[in-house]
């Protein structure tokens, strides 16, 4: 579409960028990039709609905009008024704004409601070769389809609502190649946690990460979404994976997927998107999938992680003074001593959910480990599906019965304890194994301590009450029905 396509091998990211150029920036000015899909939620949009109102501007493309309620929504008693007044105000403000401007909105109780990054893909709105933005850093999730997807601030939300474009400087590109075969029990979550530990929580800053290699090719779309979701935790603007047959099969026949001739045109174009032979990246990283083990974080940023079979590192082992100081602070906050085996760390709670790991495949993985078992005494286990549709799907498969028999709480859809904006929070000092994406101080509740893990590790941890992988579990003793 663009008239300025350079005559050289290009990366996936460059191709998508070039095909969305409205104006090429000159003399240090940013490019003006067209946005194909704008996802909206209640937290980062009220002030954007206010800005439109103040200037008398409409939403330029209602047909490229969709809103859902997720960050604040309760996951219990969703038919009752939201108890927290400020949460209720924010939800009601979104409903008023959606109504006034004509934005499609999926509200609490609607079967398409859920976490914005689960809703886009399941509706078939997320597809290869498009640009996706949302006022949420985990928008990077949609890059799993070969889309260019990134989080924006509220001023930019207003900008996209008003113009359907964003002024942006091109991102640098980083190829992250993961070759080999994953051992049983090692998942996409472990790969991405290992990558973040390797390049650091800011190692990806300014880059679009392109995950490639045989281990990535073998992942399902859910696994790819988990990887791209956490690109932001390496500081990257976006993560991308080239579309392939797995991608096309996932998108096909979703409610908003292209149909007929449009589908054929789309697939023909999507096949041109993978990075060209000889395309040059600004940085390259390699990882051997064969060596990976289940991974867990010990600190307060997602880069502070090690293999689950390892011990809590000694801050003195960090050469960099900033990293050493950060590790000391993290161990104090996490109440962990250097040298402690991670598998000796006991937990108070297990959170299975978030835009990182709350899709049907994640719930199936969790259920496969806990089926026929009962949770450890004193451990609170919450299972929160990513969307109302995922919840219905899980119930149709009987997974809800597995969760409740295990002693877990089976909740309604939302962001929930990933960030504790609703009542789902850790108490001060409580320790949680969480399938979410951030282990920052106070993220899951003031004073709460978070260990990021995969759904499989979360499940095994819920069984034993201490950090564990499924291979640590004894054979199932059938619980009396």
């Amino acid at each position: 579409m663009s008239t300025t396509i350079p005559d050289r091998p290009r990366t996936l990211a460059e191709k998508v960028w070039d095909d969305h150029l409205v104006v090429k920036g000159e003399d240090g000015q940013p490019d003006l990039i067209y946005i194909d899909l704008h996802l909206v939620h209640e937290v980062t949009s009220p002030q954007a709609f206010d800005g439109l109102r103040a200037e008398g501007r409409p939403v330029r493309r209602l047909d490229l905009t969709i809103a859902t309620e997720d960050h604040n929504t309760p996951t219990l008693e969703i038919d009752k008024p939201i108890a927290d007044l400020t949460s209720r105000t924010q939800i009601e403000t979104l409903r008023r704004n959606a109504d006034e401007f004509g934005v499609r909105l999926h509200s609490l109780g609607d079967k398409e409601q859920g976490i914005v990054h689960v809703v886009g893909p399941q509706l078939g709105l997320t597809m290869p070769g498009i640009t996706v933005v949302c006022g949420d850093s985990h928008t990077s999730t949609h890059g799993a389809f070969g889309a260019m997807a990134f989080g924006i601030g509220t001023s930019e939300v207003e900008h996209v609502l008003a113009t359907q474009t964003l002024p942006l400087k091109p991102f640098k590109t980083m190829a992250i190649t993961v070759e080999g075969e994953l051992k049983p029990g090692v998942t996409a979550k472990d790969i991405i946690l290992a990558i973040i530990a390797k390049i650091g929580a800011n190692g990806g800053q300014g880059y679009v990460l392109e995950f490639r290699g045989s281990a990535i090719r073998s992942l399902s779309m859910e696994g790819r979404m988990t990887m791209c979701n956490m690109s932001i935790e390496a500081g990257a603007r976006a993560g991308m994976i080239a579309p392939d047959e797995t991608t096309f099969a996932y998108v096909k026949d979703k409610p908003h997927a292209p149909q007929g001739q449009d589908w054929d045109d789309a697939v023909a174009y999507w096949r041109t998107l993978p990075s060209d032979e000889g395309a040059v990246y600004d940085a390259e990283v390699f990882l051997d999938a064969n060596e990976l083990e289940p991974f867990v974080t010990w600190g307060t940023n997602p880069g502070q992680g090690v293999s689950l079979s390892d011990v809590v590192p000694d801050p003195a082992s960090f050469a960099d003074a900033n990293e050493r100081a950060a590790a000391e602070r993290a161990l104090a906050y996490m109440d962990l001593a250097a040298g402690t085996p991670l598998k000796d760390v006991t937990v108070d709670a297990v959170f299975m959910g978030s835009c990182t790991n709350s899709r049907i495949e994640d719930l199936r993985a969790f259920a496969s480990v806990i089926e026929g078992r009962h949770k450890a005494d004193g451990v609170r286990v919450m299972v929160v599906p990513g969307s109302a549709r995922v919840r219905l799907e899980a119930e149709a498969e009987g997974l809800d019965k597995v969760f409740t028999a295990f002693g877990a709480e089976w909740r309604f859809a939302g962001c929930s304890m990933c960030l504790g904006m609703n009542p789902d929070q850790l108490a001060p000092g409580e320790r949680c194994a969480s399938t979410s994406n951030r282990n920052f101080e106070g993220r899951q509740g003031k004073g709460g301590r978070t260990h990021l893990v995969s759904p499989l590790v979360a499940a095994a941890t819920a069984v034993l009450g201490r950090l564990a992988s499924p291979s640590d579990l004894p054979a199932v003793e059938k619980v009396e029905a």
Partner: protein, 198 residues
């Protein structure tokens, strides 16, 4: 947005690296639907510690924050910028900023200047020696002066120009309205549409 040329105010040292936006403003404060009034939410958890820098009388009215590397990582919440701005901060200096935070700051008139780690250390030492000392930040010259110390900071030309002129991004983009319409006219039919609802 108001034009920014120079600013003189008290400099506070935030002697930590990787200050994420969950620390700048915890999620529970994101529920408000206004764009102002976030001053009480700034570093809310840390401010419960009486020794925290902004709880010290010399720094309570600080308007320039000098922080360790990787400032503003994590969540995209623009509230982090609003909270800093509402508290009275006009400038943050750090060796490295997270991308989304830096973009958000530029749109709200908060200057984010990149300085070397050595300069951060030198400024921290200056502040420690003279708590409450003022700093002058000159966006035109890209310099920060505190006591005898004069350091240069980096900020990209485009953001600097917009801050100096006080320009609104949406207004700038809408100057290209015809080009946006031309682009839309040639978009392919397969691209996603949220309406009509299917």
């Amino acid at each position: 947005m108001e034009k920014f040329t120079t600013h003189t105010g008290i400099a506070a040292a935030l002697t930590r690296s990787a200050v994420d936006t969950d620390q700048i403003i915890p999620a529970v404060y994101l529920k408000r639907v206004t764009k102002t009034g976030f001053e009480d939410a700034l570093f809310a958890n840390w401010r419960q510690d009486p020794d925290f820098v902004l709880n010290q009388p010399a720094f309570a009215r600080a308007s320039i924050l000098v922080a360790g590397p990787d400032f503003g990582t994590g969540s995209s919440r623009e509230h982090a910028v609003w909270a800093l701005r509402d508290y009275g901060f006009q400038v943050v200096l750090s060796p490295k900023f997270a991308d989304i935070f830096r973009g958000n700051a530029g749109k709200q008139g908060l200057v984010t200047g990149v300085i070397s780690e050595a300069d951060v250390e030198a400024i921290w030492a200056q502040i420690e020696a003279q708590p409450g000392i003022e700093m002058t930040v000159d966006l035109l010259e890209r310099t920060a002066v505190i006591g005898e110390l004069r350091v240069s900071f980096e900020i990209d030309d485009y953001t600097r120009w917009r801050l100096l002129e006080g320009l609104d991004d949406i207004g700038l983009t809408l100057r290209n309205e015809d080009k946006i319409a031309q682009f839309e006219a040639r978009r392919e039919a397969w691209r996603p549409r949220t309406l009509p609802v299917r």
